[in-house]
Point group: C2
Amino acid sequence: MKKNFILAPGPTPVPQNVLLAMAQPIIHHRTPQFKEIFKQMNENLKYVFQTKNDIFTFAASGTGAMEAVVVNLLSAKDKAICIQSGKFGERWTELCKAYCVDTVIIDVEWGKAVEIARVKEVLEKHKDAKVIFSTYCETSTGVVTDIKAIADLVKDTDTVLVTDAVSALGGMDLQTDNWNIDVVVAGSQKGLMIPPGLAFCAVSSKAQKLVEVSKTSRYYFDFCLAKKALDKSDTAFTPAIGLCIGLNEALKMIKQETLEKVFQRHSCLAKAARAGVEAIGLKLFAETPADVVTAVCVPEGIDGAELVKIMRDDYGVTVAGGQAELKGKIFRLAQLGYMNEFDILTGLNCLEIVLTKLGYKFSLGKSVAAAEAVFLTYTQT
Amino acid sequence: MKKNFILAPGPTPVPQNVLLAMAQPIIHHRTPQFKEIFKQMNENLKYVFQTKNDIFTFAASGTGAMEAVVVNLLSAKDKAICIQSGKFGERWTELCKAYCVDTVIIDVEWGKAVEIARVKEVLEKHKDAKVIFSTYCETSTGVVTDIKAIADLVKDTDTVLVTDAVSALGGMDLQTDNWNIDVVVAGSQKGLMIPPGLAFCAVSSKAQKLVEVSKTSRYYFDFCLAKKALDKSDTAFTPAIGLCIGLNEALKMIKQETLEKVFQRHSCLAKAARAGVEAIGLKLFAETPADVVTAVCVPEGIDGAELVKIMRDDYGVTVAGGQAELKGKIFRLAQLGYMNEFDILTGLNCLEIVLTKLGYKFSLGKSVAAAEAVFLTYTQT
């Protein structure tokens, strides 16, 4: 009897009530019934994004929403700054290059967050940059970037701040309006607790001005078509109905728990995960670790790919390995979405068993004990 | 106790076993478990598309796949022929215009199919057209176009034939390879019996040559990235995992029924629907009606919008109204996907009740009787 636990930074576990909501007979999207669901979904999305701005929902994965931002805000030969500290930061650059946008790259060593002083310098040097692209939680390295500090630099300039919050939204505090983030991009299969297939762009009026002048060809991802439809609680093209229905349920759960407690829970789970791995001598990969995913260096002498494979295939516990240059060098344990103490503890339990099997030396139970101690310092409600 | 029946041409009813497959705990997409499902899904898709060509699956709605074709096959200022006989034919033109493609429009009166002689003429006049865009079943008018005849004209030219089969695939015979259709576009929420959110492009080697020279910027919908991933049974970006799992189940059902019987069933259901509405004096809107959706003219003195609204809100039977210039003038009853005799009969039952309420005169039961008579001529297995 193998039970499957998904502890990867997306897709994340989907609550059973959400799965069952999506398993109801399908309804048509041009009906009062769906319109009501879509309206509610959009209102609750605004709560989670902490914004009054329009949020456009696309049937797409996160990369689709990233592309949407590039094609709606920029034209060929426009200048954009890309902060690049991992695989997803690089995706901004790749997208800009695909659309012939002139990129100024701030290259950051993987595992580190960009220094704010460096961002300031580049912003001052490139006042003509129309957009600066950033990543809140870089899923590939587990690094959190101080987006608020970057937003503080950008807000009084003519540059528009775009933040990839795909893995952060619904896990870490992201005050779109208060912090002045112009565009926030997110996906459905992370903190929003539903399967992949929906992607979102929250767009400020400052960003909207770029939309008006962008000359890039677009259709499916066109913000103007999306806006026209959204104003009537509709979508320009057939929405992913089932996923919208699931999202509506998941958002109700977040609202009921309250964002404050959601963030507290993720912070507590992450603290426990970090304490757990450090207690058995493992090193964190991220200098400034995010609260939604913990990237851990594979100890010397252990094959990282093997570790992830055994955890998954022999024990049913799916964590993520390293991507690109980090393949085999790190593994990533998520604390994201529909998770509580026992998900993290299961991850650590399994890690203890498999690391021991692979010959890594430590006292069994030590990792779990450290995590439990963290949980004990948090008051349960 | 209101029961909901969905008889619109997409989304179509989703079988319960498919809904339940999608309601299982989510799995990660970079696992042997998902790879196996994805492989099976792709093999069975080829069966349904009747092709050996690559089929690219995107997390998107049908329009996303249409856009994918335009950006991968054409560059700005290339010439393309658009056959336009309804809302979805017009979408090809809109997409071409959005991407600055030089369009030659074959405008066809709504309700009619394009004349093959006219296509021949335009093809001969515009030998430099890189692509000709067509629509197999025009969902907005219920018209089927003789795609095989068009393909016969195109196959020996340098022009590439693209067919929107969004509402036709899995309902009407479409022999991609035998008929020499270069690109077939489809969506998930029609004959494939799952919710919207997946879109497909089957691409021939003749079309692939255009992909190699297209200069249009693209990323999310890039066929090259999709092809590279597909060769490893993977996707370039996070797939809509749940929908892929559902599709895999739905495709197994189609394979078990066999395509031959699927087409026979749709043909029988459509014949019955047409007989049913004609028996009570209603006129078909389409000159050459498709076997997946029956467009019916609203009789004089009856408000078409009201008819659709009462059927849906008072009786739980969702049929589609007319779109754009056909608003209020037609209604559309689908015979598409997971449907059998009793779905069609329910649609006709409801139609009889509501038409009578609205003051349209005919003998109750006459429409249903005509449909039942058709069913009796088909042998049940």
